[in-house]
């Protein structure tokens, strides 16, 4: 028990240091960091403009009103922002394998998956999380849900968002693990983004039965933003809640196994 506590403490310390290092790296080019923050903010604004243009023509999107849809959008932004702010190094796995710099991670006396996950966090993406929270608050206020109900559902929402974070992390890790087989696989980032960005709209837009099954199980997009938003707005749904928990566990376990399997195929590119 004591050993686990020491290990955990070490993990937290390394994570804190890696976040600090990431911030220092960005601060080396302060003006660039400022521009990165502006860029992230701009990206959020453009997404909101897009949503507004759509709702300029319609009253609801597959049953979701503008404010309800905004909660889905904000939930997705929070998850995306947290992923970049904490696990940005995952996006660089391909490049590091190609350049041989992955060795620097693998030779360290710590779990390689943990280090690969937390080695870099993009501090500008906290702007994404903050903007998303503002959108979230704006949408909640305009939904006219009693505060007591919001606070009660918020607890379920936070648990579901944690599950969503684990699911997105696992999908990203599985996809990036393919980099061990392909020399140049930077396009996996785009592929990963394309897949996860599908969840920024209510998944009810995928009207076909097959699409619904795929996006609830194989690629559980529905559980990234739509399900947390649904439960926040409409209250607890035990089936969706436990499905989300089960999927998070299954995906995390699978990603761990797949990462270890992929790691066996690593051949260093460095001298």
């Amino acid at each position: 028990m004591k050993l686990t506590a020491v290990k955990l403490k070490k993990c937290v310390k390394i994570w804190r240091l890696s976040l600090y290092n990431s911030l220092m790296q960005r601060m080396a080019y302060r003006f660039n960091f400022l521009l990165m923050c502006v860029g992230v903010f701009l990206q959020m604004i453009l997404t909101l403009i897009f949503i507004n243009v759509i709702f300029g023509f319609i009253d609801n999107l597959s049953g979701w009103t503008r404010e309800q849809a905004l909660i889905v959008v904000a939930s997705y932004m929070i998850i995306e922002g947290l992923m970049w702010a904490t696990c940005a190094y995952l996006a660089g796995i391909s490049r590091n394998i190609r350049m041989g710099t992955m060795d620097l991670i693998l030779i360290k006396p710590m779990d390689a998956q943990y280090l690969v996950s937390i080695w870099r966090g993009d501090p500008e993406d906290w702007v994404r999380v903050a903007t998303a929270l503002l959108v979230f608050i704006y949408a909640i206020v305009n939904l006219d849900i009693p505060l007591a109900v919001v606070l009660k559902n918020l607890i379920y929402y936070i648990i579901l968002m944690f599950n969503a974070y684990v699911i997105v992390y696992s999908i990203t890790l599985i996809l990036k693990s393919f980099s061990f087989w392909f020399v140049e696989a930077t396009s996996l980032n785009l592929f990963n983004q394309a897949v996860t960005r599908m969840s920024q709209y209510p998944t009810d837009i995928f009207a076909h039965k097959i699409a619904k099954i795929i996006f609830s199980t194989v690629i559980p997009l529905a559980f990234i933003a739509t399900v947390p938003a649904k439960i926040l707005i409409g209250g607890m749904n035990l089936y969706l809640f436990f499905s989300s928990c089960a999927l998070a566990i299954i995906f995390f376990y699978s990603s761990r196994k797949f990462w270890l399997f992929a790691l066996k195929h690593y051949s260093s590119a460095s001298s």
């Binding site: 080019y29 003006f31 660039n32 960091f33 400022l34 521009l35 990165m36 502006v38 860029g39 992230v40 701009l42 990206q43 453009l46 403009i49 897009f50 243009v53 759509i54 023509f57 319609i58 609801n60 999107l61 597959s62 392909f182 020399v183 140049e184 696989a185 930077t186 396009s187 996996l188 785009l190 592929f191 983004q193 394309a194 897949v195 960005r197 599908m198 709209y201 009810d204 837009i205 995928f206 009207a207 699409a211």
Partner: protein
């Protein structure tokens, strides 16, 4: 000219070496295309008419935006140029009898050509699947002409961002901002004529519309023959203006360049 032909060929061959990337890029774009189609299907199912667009014309619009995006964004030119300045690799070009701007352009054009060869057939099939448009020879020729204009304008914008490294030191931030601005103002996110009329007029003066909205409007017949000449002249004006800006920034930047690294 032979040396640039070799640069073009090298870039084409390099792109061919990473076939998995080609496949993954295509799948990624098809995924995001599917989302857009589902989104608009869901909107049109309610019996709405969005602007001047029918559902099928909107789907065709987005198919074209994906195709054009795959072509013109074949290479991250701004980042490549920025890295080469920041890390000092640009010195390798300065000591050779090669024009750096032309070298960058032909390298970019090689990657664009590869993407054209790799993706055009697939997108043609997708267009046919959605009962696409009837393209006659004239509109096809005009489309290619405006696509070439899009490639040049996109290159010049990215080149300017890239050589901003002389002044900013690191261009990741400005590159990210320009990526988002371009995405929106080119009409890749929303057709520009869906925007409020005042915004549409302002955006109409900028060069970004040539990166998606104009080529698509030409091939879908939204712009008649009488509207082509002013568009061509306007596009050529922007090419000239961007070229001059690039030239000035490059010359001034090079004067103060300390050539670290290399």
């Amino acid at each position: 000219m032979k040396k640039y032909w070799i640069i073009f060929k090298n870039s084409l061959q390099t792109s061919m070496a990473y076939r998995f990337n080609t496949f993954a890029f295509l799948i990624a774009e098809l995924f995001s295309l599917a989302v857009i189609i589902y989104l608009w299907l869901s909107i049109y199912r309610q019996g709405n008419q969005i602007g001047n667009y029918t559902l099928s014309s909107l789907i065709i619009y987005y198919i074209f935006t994906k195709f054009i995006s795959l072509l013109i964004n074949a290479q991250d030119t701004a980042r490549i140029i920025g890295d080469s300045i920041r890390q000092g690799d640009i010195i390798n070009y300065l000591v050779k009898p090669i024009n750096f701007q032309f070298e960058s352009f032909f390298s970019n054009f090689g990657a664009v050509t590869y993407n054209f060869l790799a993706y055009s057939f697939i997108f043609l099939i997708i267009l046919l699947f959605f009962h696409g448009i009837s393209i006659n020879i004239l509109s096809a020729v005009l489309f290619i002409l405006f696509i070439l204009m899009a490639i040049v304008i996109n290159f010049l914008i990215n080149y300017i961002i890239g050589i901003s490294t002389f002044y900013l030191g690191f261009i990741m931030g400005i590159n990210f901002i320009m990526f988002n601005i371009t995405l929106f103002l080119s009409g890749s996110l929303i057709p520009l004529d869906m925007l409020p009329s005042l915004v549409y007029k302002i955006v109409g003066f900028l060069p970004f519309k040539y990166l998606a909205f104009v080529p698509i409007s030409v091939v879908t017949g939204k712009i008649g023959l009488d509207g082509l000449m002013p568009l061509l002249a306007h596009g050529l004006f922007w090419i000239l203006a961007l070229y001059l800006v690039a030239l000035i920034l490059y010359k001034k930047g090079l004067k103060n360049y300390e050539a670290y690294g290399g």
